[in-house]
């Protein structure tokens, strides 16, 4: 391929891929010191550089441009074209990604290995120096194609859009969080630790059944009326029920949360909320 061809090739590449950028735009003086017959405006070269996604992409272009099969790359020719292209870029002092130079070195190496006389018996399955390059080119090409395919899938924003309708008077239903019992216990332990109440309370077992009965009794007294002690437990609860209710009553009395009235010895005991007279409806 002559240099004119190369130049035409590159120009074509640039215009094909970046049609919106004018290829022939030249600023100021023409670059007469450029290689003979190889004038490409620097702007256009930058465009070409932008047009390729890297050395594999450029190589693929050079191969496809000549309708060559990847499996049948004329390494010598492709290397010549590729290196010519790279040198041109360097002469123009364009910022060239290092990967392009690495590829040039790889190509030169493959070419030199192909020119060397082959050992009489080669057991090396990778004997063809082109194999690795061909594998990489194929691998890159299939993902280049995959990217193009992906790009053609109908997608949101470009090809379709989500739709929605108004919901007048939208009411949000709030679901309260779930609480594992363990979380409650941990909270209690922490508050105890912090309050340093642990030690003093360790000594006696908390009579929680009494506490519960205290709550129940207070609840019953909420109506402001008198309640007979016998109504504070059920017969089915047995002696334990009576004892718990009695202890609860005494605890409440100690805390001045109930008033206890017994009109005569061994007579019925009545309870009511303190100050019920004043506050009862």
């Amino acid at each position: 391929m002559s240099t004119e061809e190369a130049s035409a090739t590159l120009a074509e590449a640039a215009s094909a891929r970046q049609a919106e950028i004018p290829f022939a735009r030249v600023r100021g003086e023409p670059f007469l010191e450029l290689p003979r017959d190889l004038y490409i405006p620097p702007d256009a070269l930058e465009v070409i550089l932008d047009a390729f996604e890297g050395p594999l992409d450029l190589l693929l272009y050079l191969i496809r441009r000549q309708n060559l099969d990847i499996l049948d790359i004329p390494i010598a020719e492709i290397t010549r074209q590729y290196i010519g292209y790279i040198e041109m870029m360097q002469e123009l002092r364009l910022e060239l990604a290092a990967e392009y130079l690495v590829m040039a070195a790889i190509l030169a190496e493959i070419k030199s290995r192909l020119l060397l006389p082959r050992p009489p018996v080669s057991e090396d399955p990778e004997a063809d120096p082109r194999a690795e390059l061909v594998r990489r080119l194929q691998e890159y090409e299939r993902f280049k194609k995959a990217a193009e395919d992906l790009d053609t899938l109908p997608r949101l924003d470009r090809d379709t859009a989500l739709v929605s309708v108004e919901v007048p008077d939208r009411k949000v239903r709030v679901v309260p969080p779930e609480v594992p019992l363990r979380e409650l216990l941990v909270a209690f332990r922490e508050v105890l630790d912090r309050a340093e109440l642990y030690v003093s309370h360790q000594v006696r077992r908390e009579p929680l059944s009494v506490r519960q009965r205290m709550t129940d009794i207070l609840d019953a007294l909420g109506d402001g009326g008198f309640h007979e002690f016998g109504s504070l437990f059920r017969a089915g609860e047995g002696r334990l029920g009576v004892v718990v209710a009695f202890l609860a009553m005494l605890e409440l009395a100690k805390a001045m949360l109930v008033e206890i009235v017994q009109e005569h010895t061994l007579g019925p005991i009545y309870l009511r909320a303190p100050g019920a007279k004043e506050h009862a409806a």
């Binding site: 969080p177 609480v179 019992l181 409650l184 909270a187 309370h201 908390e206 949360l257 100050g275």
Partner: protein
Amino acid sequence: MNIETLKPIVEAALLASGQALSLAQLGELFDDAERPTQTDLANTIEALKSDCAGRGVELVEVASGFRYQVRTEVHARISRLWTERQTRYSRALMETLALIAYRQPITRGEIEAVRGVAVGTQIIRTLEEREWIRAVGHRDVPGRPALYGTTRAFLDYFGLRSLDELPTLAQLRDLDALEPELAFPADGAAVAAAAAPDATETLS
């Protein structure tokens, strides 16, 4: 452009824009050359309105234009779309609940005395709304502060038959050792009821 051609375009525009569109705004979707008249657009809207018969949405006119909206009748059926799950309760709330459970009947002031910080009204309200606590009386001191206790709903939620099934203070010290026996379900709540019978034996 006739109404049959306009219908899909106007329908899609109204559904996709996410807001009401006026006839003028609908007209701006088109190039000058093929812009339909206001009458054509109005007729298209009418046709689309009729198409909504029997469907879950309707096309209505509001101040800023036309929009699709969910029919009122259907709204109640789909209201669960907007369910907000609160993440978790604050530590202050959990401590308050724990103190009420273990120390009931107890006033807010007494909770604050143990915790060393104020208990927000919101915490008490949240616990009351959840029906886990209730005011069971008043302490006969100045201000007559409410005394709080836990409810049956509290026991049910945590899968307890009575408060006695809560671990003792001594057991609390070693919660981690307790856990395998208690077999607290990972997400607690209603499931705990199933585990409760076993737990009782250990605790009582």
